[in-house]
């Protein structure tokens, strides 16, 4: 991380909350004093399509998108989408994914099958792979809707950013009454 740009990719399905999670990441890095850029595509992809958000931070960031093959961390909200974007990562990158499968249209209609070996495929290429049961941990933390915050906590462990900046960013981004449950969910994920 020292001096160089760190590249994070957030991937999943439109409507899963990826853009908000990438906002929290960006805010955290800015509070910690880094230059930050993030990029994603709005519009048609929000209609349940595949979504990828790029977040980059360092002393000076140029490109808003992660150069191909330079991703350091892949933060997956859904397994098929996690697998789809592995080629953007560099060798030895970290993959943190939610243990969740959302079938795409061709699988819903029975034309194609949802692959059942995605976890193995990911681990074979990226040994530093953490599969998180986001829903269960979020439920334990007090609200099943904080699964993304649990995952954010797990990602935070891999980055050298002080806890206070993460919590400040979450506090800024979520309504006051939801902060406490999100704090708990974040810390649960951070302990992984």
């Amino acid at each position: 991380v020292n001096g160089a740009t760190t590249n994070i990719l957030l991937v999943g399905v439109g409507g899963q909350g990826i853009l908000l999670a990438s906002e929290v990441l960006s805010e955290t890095f800015m509070l910690a004093g880094f230059d930050v850029k993030k990029s994603e595509i709005h519009g048609m992809s929000q209609r349940g399509g595949s979504v990828v958000s790029h977040v980059r931070y360092g002393s000076e960031v140029f490109s808003p998108i992660v150069p191909e093959g330079e991703g350091d961390i892949l933060f997956g909200f859904e397994l098929l989408e996690t697998c789809r974007y592995l080629s953007l990562l560099k060798k030895g990158a970290t993959v943190i994914a939610n243990d969740l499968c959302i079938p795409p249209p061709a699988v819903l209609s029975g034309e194609e099958r949802y692959p059942d070996d995605l976890g193995e495929r990911i681990r074979a290429r990226f040994p530093d792979f953490l599969l998180v049961d986001g829903l269960r941990m979020a439920t334990d933390a007090g609200n099943p809707r904080t699964a993304n915050t649990v995952l954010l906590g797990a990602v935070s462990r891999r980055l050298e950013i002080a806890e206070e900046y993460w919590l400040k960013a979450i506090e800024k981004m979520v309504p006051a009454k939801a902060f406490e449950v999100n704090r708990k969910a974040f810390l649960a994920g951070r302990s992984l």
């Binding site: 908000l20 808003p64 974007y85 795409p104 029975g110």
Partner: protein, 613 residues
Amino acid sequence: LFSSAVDQLLNHRHFFPNQFQTKEQVMKEILSGNEAIARGAFEAGVRVACAYPGTPSTEILENIIQYEGIDASWAPNEKVALEVGIGAAFAGGRALVAMKHVGVNVAADPLFTLSYTGVNGGLVLVTADDPEMHSSQNEQDNRNYAKFAKVPLLEPADSQECKDFTRLAFELSERFDTPVLLRTTTRISHSKSVVDLATPVTGLPEPKLVRNAAKLVMLPSNARVRHPLVEERLKKLAEHGAKMEINRLELRGTEVGIITSGVSYQYVREVLPDASTLKLGMVHPLPLDLVRKFAAQVKKLYVVEELDPFIEEQIKAAGIPVMGKELLPVCGELTPGIIRQAFATRHGAVPSPEVPAKLPGRPPNMCPGCPHRGVFYALNQLKAFVAGDIGCYTLGFMPPLSAMDTCVCMGASIGNAIGMVKVVAEADRRKVVAVIGDSTFLHTGINGLMDMVYNNVPATVVILDNRITAMTGRQENPASGFTLTDQPASRIDIPALCRALGVKNIRKVDPYDLEATKKAIEEEMERPEPSVIVTDRPCVLVKREEVFQKGPVLAVTAEKCTGCRACLKIGCPAIVWHPDDGKKGKATIDYLLCTGCDVCRQLCKFEAIGRSE
């Protein structure tokens, strides 16, 4: 909490309380290009902002409403938006007009003559281009409009520049008496980066009406006087461009020199950190003196630009040796990898990128409960030849609905249908149906309907009235009953409007009632007269209580499901197929996604689908 994030993001301004009221320190915020343009308009003292929504430009107006002192509104189309801006500028107020690249085609008529009149208060037209067509029907390069209309064009490379260039564009507009184009691309509009906020300008003159016919009345005798002034203005702007700070020589080495602008500049800095750059903030008129100065200082000169060789051709025409599209594609977005690859073949190879694994795709889909679904199912069943239009419903072309045969531009469906009817035999004539949304109909579709009635062309038009401009993220329109700022507004009665145009056969249908919808379309297809069917159901994403009410959800009774797959023909994301369940497989309904629209129940002949208790 995070899982309702789409709604939160669509209203994300509420998550960013205004913090810049504190004057003592430089406030920093992470802003998207669109948010930064809105902020820049505020800092520039803009009085009027007007737009028609279009990805990737939409969030500019949605963000501008947080600032006091700006009258911001949605117009029915981009031409009206620009005309409103022109009026404000003629009367001495600064005006910002925003649209996507293809919107400028609609607004081109006033733009070209505005170039002759010039302005009084500054006028900035934001053109948000979409290389790669993430959400567009073409990837036209609107830098060409600057050359065509003979106006200056600024191109920011990050959010800070979006804000600063917006301010600068207003100064240029007034100083050179010209409209200014501010061109972004999707990667600039929708990328976020850190922005230093500043305080708004003060001391701008109060708008007032001043007669000046020689400047503002463009009939031939006046326009002939204005045209030479436009040519002179371009020369002065090019000279000024050589001195502007936003056109920046950055010398790092003498081997490779790269002329670039916009997001391409960021990619060049990323992958070719040792190259010298001429970073252009104003790409039209091109400051050729500066280009010559740069060319003299480097051994090999390149242009790195997305889409057309806009900069490159002008440099070549000036007789300066340069390479550009010999190395880089004309089609699609550039990426750091594409640039690295292009230059690596000249300066050592890079490993070829890994081929991604073959996985089931995930294209966008209509939402569960979308009222368009039943209409396209009926059109499919009737084997209609559907002249389509621009909106969420364009997704009706995809299987299994597969019921759209053409899609060209906003409002084209009705005119296209008229042309088809004019040339085909009677048997085919019946099949022609134009399908258009409420907002698109009011944008430019209405003119097509005038033609259909005026020339008595027997085609069928289905207006999908879902009470919102949905595809761009639910913006209000003149038929939704609300304004950009959520104020109640006069609501256009679409059937009454069609009647006033002279359409005699007008009917409303509930698109959740499959039988009635199919029957209505079938009858109107048979009728040898112009006819209009208006579907009457709101978008499921409209959150106003009285507009959309979720019904009790549906469920499949497993014992009754025969595995016939009839329910799969509407492509609803809430219906899940289990191939291994029973002999032939079985369907279930995801109760979290189901809205209770009832359309799938009507497809099940075995009464396996019913209201869940």
